[in-house]
């Protein structure tokens, strides 16, 4: 233990499981989140592999009446696994992903604070996530909830499965999200170190701040929606029930009023990570710092006014549809501002293709496709054709996986030396990138074509014409799985055998790199004093 000679750090200051489960240190809580979210990711990933496995072959009954090509026991099993995959990945992986893991560890470090504003609340929000996740897992695996992660009425009211418990579980994980967001807002407002003005904050912090605003303002709507759904199932209050004059489409309005901003809860922190990676690995001051910061706030603001684009075919008025269509295209403006600024940052930069940068470049490529197809789907006539087809599935996977997950991986490789004080194998990291990046495109690009051909989403079988592309897609999912296994091996190997990491292996300029690797319990030996912006590469 080389660092033991220099004294203790946050990892070894206290020992034993109990010291971790009761820790108020934001860095340790981040590690707790890391372990739990990665476990959920593994479960959600296995569900995804099962879904793709089922779709590998077209099911046809042979002469003996047996289904050939069928992997899962039944169509119902497919629906249940689809629900597991969606609910786990959305509520337990991508929403807490970057803010709760990387944000928890690096937000205070990047603004020179000793901790987040409310350390106990921080730990409480981890326990909320764990309680919600445990309840959700228990419900899903014991009663086989089959509504999909959106819980659309009227099916969710009629379904004989334990939707109520599932909804309560989602409510509790929502609570966790609110508490994290609240904590981050106050931390950013109150705990910046001397000289760290708002306009000197790293762009990752700006992204987390914008995300936190959405978390605090949108999640309560999900809370009341889910409570009303639980009431509807328990007492039949009638608000979503047409028999009593209620309106099932109102549920969709309520649900997407949260769940569309939630999409930006997922992607904004990813954009923050990318800003850090691009500037660090281009060795160049970020281009358009202010524009990127404002565009984060802009996306947060617009996110509240676009929910109707999920409902173009749900019977909302044509006028509403047109308004939502235009508002949705507006999201493209701040997003494109970010893209152009990132590209301009790389222009004439001294670019190194270290593994975090590879993930950042992968993000730029995949997110551009995800974003542009998003604009296509905002056009009503196009959406009417593509609605509920694999085109939509491919679109949001390009944004969520190609965007957020690439950023999680890039950010994780970037900050790994700081988090654990060890270096990982660059070769392993690059191999994981190659498999994930290529596998991702092999999996999801054919789905655009399948969607354009009219293959509906959420079905466990299809007509023979769709088989070749589905086979390619399934093979791609195996490549992604191999990529993540390589990443897991690289990380574990780095933890055990990695060389000791220097303070600032990448030559970054933000504050967290001035702390030790890994940081001490109090983050900095002396309170830092900031005199310049975050990316002053000379």
């Amino acid at each position: 233990m080389a660092h033991a000679a220099h004294g203790s750090n946050y990892l070894n200051a206290q020992k034993g499981l109990w010291s971790w489960l009761t820790s108020l240190d934001h860095k340790r809580i981040g590690i707790l989140y890391f372990i739990s979210v990665m476990t959920f990711f593994l479960l959600g990933g296995i569900a995804a592999l099962l879904l793709r496995g089922e779709l590998f072959a077209y099911n046809v009954a042979n002469s003996a009446g047996e289904m050939a090509g069928q992997l899962l026991p039944s169509a119902d099993a497919y629906n249940q696994i689809l629900t597991y995959h969606g609910a786990i990945m959305v509520f337990m992986v991508i929403i807490p992903g970057i803010p709760a893991i990387l944000g928890n560890i690096f937000l205070p470090l990047q603004i020179g604070a000793k901790d987040v504003a409310f350390p106990k609340l921080n730990l409480a929000s981890w326990y909320c996530l764990m309680a919600g996740a445990t309840l959700a897992m228990f419900t899903m695996f014991s009663t086989k909830v089959d509504t999909g992660w959106t819980f659309y009425t009227p099916y969710s009211i009629k379904s004989g499965t334990a939707v109520t418990t599932m909804v309560i579980a989602a409510f509790i994980t929502g609570m966790s999200s609110i508490l994290t967001g609240l904590n981050f807002i106050v931390t950013v407002h109150k705990l910046r170190c001397p000289g760290m003005t708002m306009w000197r904050m790293p762009l990752f912090v700006w992204a987390l701040y914008s995300t936190a605003i959405i978390q605090v303002l949108a999640t309560p709507i999900l809370a009341i929606t889910l409570l009303l759904l639980a009431m509807e199932r328990t007492f039949g209050v009638g608000i979503f029930d047409p028999k009593l004059g209620g309106d099932p489409v109102l549920f969709q309005h309520f649900f997407w009023f949260y769940s569309h901003p939630a999409v930006y809860i997922m992607i904004l922190p990813a954009m923050g990570v990318i800003s850090e990676l691009i500037t660090t690995f281009s060795k160049k001051t970020i281009f358009g710092y202010t524009a990127i910061a404002y565009s984060s706030l802009g996306i947060a603001a617009v996110s509240f006014f676009v929910w109707g684009h999920h409902m173009f075919v749900s019977g909302q008025s044509e006028f509403a549809g047109v308004v939502f269509s235009f508002l949705t295209m507006l999201v493209g403006v701040p997003t494109a501002i970010k893209m152009f600024n990132w590209v301009a940052t790389m222009y004439k930069g001294s670019i190194s293709f270290a593994s975090p940068m590879l993930f950042a470049l992968g993000f730029l490529f995949l997110f551009a496709i995800g974003g542009v197809t998003g604009i296509m789907l905002a056009v009503i006539p196009v959406d009417v054709h593509f609605h509920d087809t694999y085109f939509v599935v491919a679109h949001f996977h390009y944004v969520m996986v190609g965007g957020t997950l690439m950023a999680i991986m890039g950010g994780f490789y970037y900050w790994f030396p700081k988090m654990f004080g060890k270096m990982y194998s660059e070769f392993g990291a690059r191999m994981s990138w190659i498999f994930i990046f290529i596998g991702f495109n092999v999996t999801f690009f054919p789905q655009f074509i399948l969607g354009a051909m009219g293959m509906p989403r959420r079905y466990f079988n299809y007509i023979p014409a769709y088989e070749p592309l589905n086979r390619i897609s399934t093979v791609g999912s195996w490549m992604i799985a191999v990529g993540f296994l390589i990443a897991l091996y690289t990380i574990i190997n780095g933890l055990i055998n990695g060389a000791k990491a220097p303070k600032n292996p990448w030559g970054s300029k933000t504050l967290e790199w001035e702390a030790d690797s890994p940081p001490s319990v109090h983050n900095f030996d002396h309170e830092p004093v900031v005199t310049a912006g975050p990316y002053e590469y000379k």
């Binding site: 106050v186 109150k190 605090v216 009431m231 039949g236 004059g245 209620g246």
Partner: protein
């Protein structure tokens, strides 16, 4: 500890910590208001669609009981504010009394609510689908009033029970938190430099009162 104030090490001083805590409370209050906001939006939509149903349903609520409850809660807001004030001027004994009266007011509110709810259950009024129109009409004919033909009266009571129920849960939570403040106040935790918990719970209590001030006309006086 700085001047008898437990200041956590990541804050500069007591006032820094106090301002941060207060901002956290206000943000949490924003989430509370937005959560009730979902119910208010639902109410608004269906009130526009079925104004008659809301007028019909409101007849079954006793506005006098609602009015008494409104007064009780407004008075409790005053005593809550006094509780904070007495902590600020270092008179913990008076603060204990003020907080105790606030809890008592919450209890009075809940007892009145209990009688309102059970009275409705006796008439067959339950939320939504569970509303027993036959039982309700029997009750109406026994007191010489015309029968109700409406089929979606249940939805009004869906709103009534959801809105007042969620509010009632918050009143109970508020009472528990005020009790915790009361206990800490008796233990002598608070002084003019440190009364964050009372202030925070106070803000919560006022917001809950404010929600009721909107619920009272919307549920009892509508129509």
């Amino acid at each position: 500890m700085i001047n008898g104030v437990p200041v956590q090490e990541h804050y500069r001083d007591a006032s820094h910590q106090f301002a941060s805590a207060k901002e956290g409370i206000w943000l949490f209050m924003a989430t509370e208001i937005l959560m009730f906001g979902g119910l208010f939006v639902g109410y608004l939509i269906f009130h526009m669609k079925y104004p008659q149903m809301f007028a019909e349903g409101a007849q079954f609520l006793d506005w006098r009981l609602g009015f008494v409850n409104t007064l009780v809660l407004i008075f409790s807001s005053l005593t809550m504010a006094l509780g904070i004030y007495f902590c600020q001027i270092n008179q913990p004994k008076k603060a204990v009394w003020a907080l105790a009266i606030t809890i008592l007011c919450g209890a009075v509110f809940m007892v009145i609510k209990y009688f309102e709810y059970t009275h409705k259950f006796h008439m067959g009024i339950y939320p939504g689908r569970m509303l027993d129109l036959e039982m309700l009409n029997q009750h109406l004919s026994s007191i010489g009033k015309p029968a109700i033909a409406s089929t979606n009266l249940g939805m009004y009571f869906g709103f009534y029970f959801c809105m007042s129920g969620l509010h009632g849960i918050h009143v109970i939570l508020g009472m528990l938190m005020i009790s915790w403040c009361l206990y800490r106040c008796m233990r002598g935790d608070f002084n003019p430099n440190y009364y964050t918990a009372v202030e925070g719970v106070g803000i919560f209590w006022h917001i809950i009162d404010l929600v009721w001030i909107f619920l009272f006309p919307l549920l009892y006086l509508v129509g």
